[in-house]
């Protein structure tokens, strides 16, 4: 059993739990956080959308975005859970940085802002990272475990901050706050008539005078976004730093692993530190230890004299062996492509869903060894 993840957690201050949706990222992040707290670390788990029963079990069921709560329990260190909510994170950012209450309200009422903060692709990922760097700078915790948003594609999490940064690029913003832009497309002199016609048509199709709203938004926010590129740069530096470890969570399914493979490749291109892979809900092949199939038959016949009952038990064993064979092949071929120093943990599919502290602890031997 692998215990290599133990070292990864011991030697890093920031753990990012990444992977595509529905593979157990949140559960893994919570299990890592719990382990850190048991080992004496002041731990915070930044989570996005935990299952209701798990949230209730940790005592954070009522938590709203941006709030935090200390988990009660027998910890050598401490365990805090914090909920991320992108809308409130953006609002908090505006509240913090708006120079006057008037400007703050103007931004909060701006339709473009409302759209940006709720639906702009990547803003949730960006905000997760923004909150991470704040927790890091705050110094209250010596282990920060961050659960990444449920993206369609695991990679979105890595690319989103850059995309948001490009979007809020100062050069572009400068252009948008020019007075003639603020008046709308009709007065944009640099464009010819056809282009202007097209753009107006686009505006009609979307239902808002986008340009005016955008311009107004950036004018109000111009102070805030001045240092934006630098800030994003710093966040990337933190993600690439020696104290950060990415843990990729994947289930041993074809499509999930195809995405995970792409994610790994992209991580090394971006020089992001992939330190561990967790295969979750895996099935393991049975390794025979010296006995023959005939001996097993005899043993089963002795223990379960009822032939039908015995057949049902053995049939079920065989069905799971089929699953296990497939999982083994896929995990092995995935493993072969990983750089050697990436730790690999295999967590079995349990006989129940993990929804409380003792459930999370069942993962521990498989993640960290005995």
């Amino acid at each position: 059993m692998s215990n290599a993840l133990e070292r990864v957690v011991e030697t890093h201050q920031v753990i990012v739990s990444a992977g595509s949706g529905g593979v157990g990222k949140t559960t893994t992040a919570a299990a890592i956080g719990l382990y850190g707290a048991r080992k004496g670390r002041r731990t915070v788990v930044l989570t996005i959308d935990p299952a209701r029963r798990l949230a209730d079990a940790l005592g954070v069921g009522e938590l709203r975005g941006g709030e935090e709560s200390a988990v009660k329990g027998d910890f050598a260190g401490s365990l805090t859970v914090m909920m991320l909510d992108q809308k409130s994170a953006w609002d908090a950012l505006v509240q913090r940085h708006a120079p006057t209450p008037e400007i703050r309200d103007r931004v909060l009422d701006n339709r473009f802002y409302q759209h940006l903060s709720q639906t702009f692709a990547g803003s949730q990922e960006y905000m997760a990272i923004e909150q991470l760097s704040e927790l890091y700078a705050g110094g209250r915790f010596d282990l920060i475990v961050i659960d990444t948003p449920p993206t369609r594609h695991a990679l979105d999490f890595l690319e989103a901050p850059r995309r948001v940064a490009d979007f809020l690029d100062r050069q572009i913003i400068k252009w948008f706050v020019k007075p003639y832009v603020a008046a709308g497309w009709a007065t944009v002199e640099v464009m010819n008539r056809t282009v202007r016609f097209l753009m107006r048509r686009l505006e009609d199709a979307t239902g808002v005078s986008v340009l005016v709203e955008v311009s107004d938004f950036f004018t109000a926010m111009s102070g805030l976004f001045d240092g934006f590129q630098e800030r994003v740069q710093r966040v990337y530096e933190l993600l690439q730093a020696a104290e950060t470890a990415f843990v990729l969570v994947a289930s041993p399914e074809e499509q999930v692993l195809a995405e995970a493979e792409y994610f790994c490749r992209k991580m090394s291109e971006l020089r992001m530190p992939l330190r561990a892979v967790v295969f979750n809900r895996a099935h393991f092949e049975f390794e025979a230890i010296g006995d023959s199939p005939a001996q097993r038959d005899v043993a089963m016949s002795t223990l379960v004299p009822d032939a039908e009952s015995r057949q049902r038990l053995v049939d079920n064993f065989e069905l799971y062996e089929v699953l296990a064979r497939g999982d083994a092949v896929r995990m092995e071929s995935f493993r072969r492509q990983l750089p050697r120093r990436v730790a690999v943990a295999e967590v079995p599919n349990f006989d129940t869903d993990l929804h409380d502290v003792s459930g999370l602890e069942r993962m521990h031997p498989f993640l960290f060894g005995k």
Binding site: I172, D204, G207, V208, Q255, R312, N316
Partner: protein
């Protein structure tokens, strides 16, 4: 509401949380529609090529049609490509247009305009569902959409109504109203909710059902509970073996027996979880429900999709068969 055959409708949206088997169910439905002779388009939205992977074809650029069987075709629809296509169709001066599409300001606009990509995606799907050939007949008998993960899907499905509400007259209003009309018509459109019978997906499904009904007024047509563990095992099998093991001092082939027991507990555990959440679904989502089994296979591929397709077929075909194709052309 008239309860007509699901596959007689023109447009099916298959929605659900990531990882529950949306692509599998969408593919299975599309296969069955095609098998019954309907010219079928399977649409993947903003896809990473999952449907293409299932059918073993290479991923095509957005908007391109890939043939899967003689009557089944696959297309990836993506908002900005759909917008570009729309502009290409409606704007005569291509040279100018290319310049616009490549400009940073245009790309900025597309990224910033609220809901534009979602609207264009639905617009493109609507266009395909209504597309006619030169003879005036419909190009597709049915369009099956493998929608993005639920949160995103609802954003897409809400857009036409939002647009319709924003504009009270004019071209955009008329276009949006035609889209809304199709989406809300239970004769022509159906939303298929796919879920696994586990906590997270079930909570999300209940919420989605509620929103489809009360906010979006879209016709939910079918609930598919996927990956449902059904077993011949009985808990008595496990209990008897457990009791026996407790009383025996030494057991031959102990590792094997322990593993038999562990796997039996695992299976019974998931049967129990699945049943509990199916019960919750039945209480909260009063829809026609199809339960598809968890498949024990080494690899989940086209054969498995075909097996599920056959099961779905039996369940959705209770009403009359599709009339001969000539009937509606």
């Amino acid at each position: 509401m008239k309860q007509n055959d699901l596959l007689q409708r023109r447009l099916l949206f298959v929605v659900g949380k990531g990882g529950v088997g949306k692509t599998t169910v969408a593919s299975a439905l599309a296969l069955e529609a095609a098998r019954r002779g309907a010219k079928t388009l399977l649409v993947e939205v903003d896809g990473v090529g999952r449907a293409a992977q299932v059918f073993g074809v290479s991923v095509r650029p957005p908007g391109e049609v890939a043939p899967l069987t003689p009557s089944l075709f696959l297309m990836n629809v993506e908002g900005s490509a759909a917008l570009a296509e729309y502009l290409m169709m409606t704007v005569p001066v291509k040279r100018v247009l290319q310049g616009v599409l490549n400009s940073r300001i245009y790309q900025y606009f597309v990224a910033a305009a609220p809901g534009l990509k979602e609207l264009m995606t639905i617009g493109k799907i609507w266009f395909e569902a209504n597309r006619t050939d030169t003879a005036g007949g419909g190009v597709w008998d049915i369009v099956v959409v493998d929608a993005p993960a639920t949160g995103h899907s609802l954003q897409y499905l809400a857009m036409p109504q939002a647009t319709f509400d924003t504009f009270t007259s004019g071209l955009v209003h008329r276009e949006a109203s035609r889209v809304v009309e199709l989406l809300q018509d239970p004769e022509r459109t159906g939303v298929v909710l796919v879920t696994a019978a586990e906590e997270m997906p079930v909570n999300e499904t209940i919420e989605t059902y509620r929103r489809l009904r009360s906010d979006l007024h879209l016709p939910s047509a079918l609930l598919v509970v996927n990956r449902f563990h059904q077993t011949a095992l009985r808990s008595a099998d496990v209990e008897a073996l457990e009791r026996r093991l407790e009383s025996e001092a030494s057991v031959a082939s102990r590792e094997f027996v322990d593993e038999v027991l562990r796997r039996a507990r695992e299976e019974l555990g998931w049967v129990q979880i699945n049943e509990r959440y199916l019960q919750r679904l039945r209480e909260a989502v009063p829809l026609r429900t199809v339960v598809l089994p968890f498949l024990f296979s080494e690899e989940f591929g086209l054969d498995e999709v075909k097996r599920l397709s056959a099961q779905l077929a039996a369940e959705v075909a209770e009403t009359k068969a599709r009339p001969a194709k000539g009937g509606k052309a």
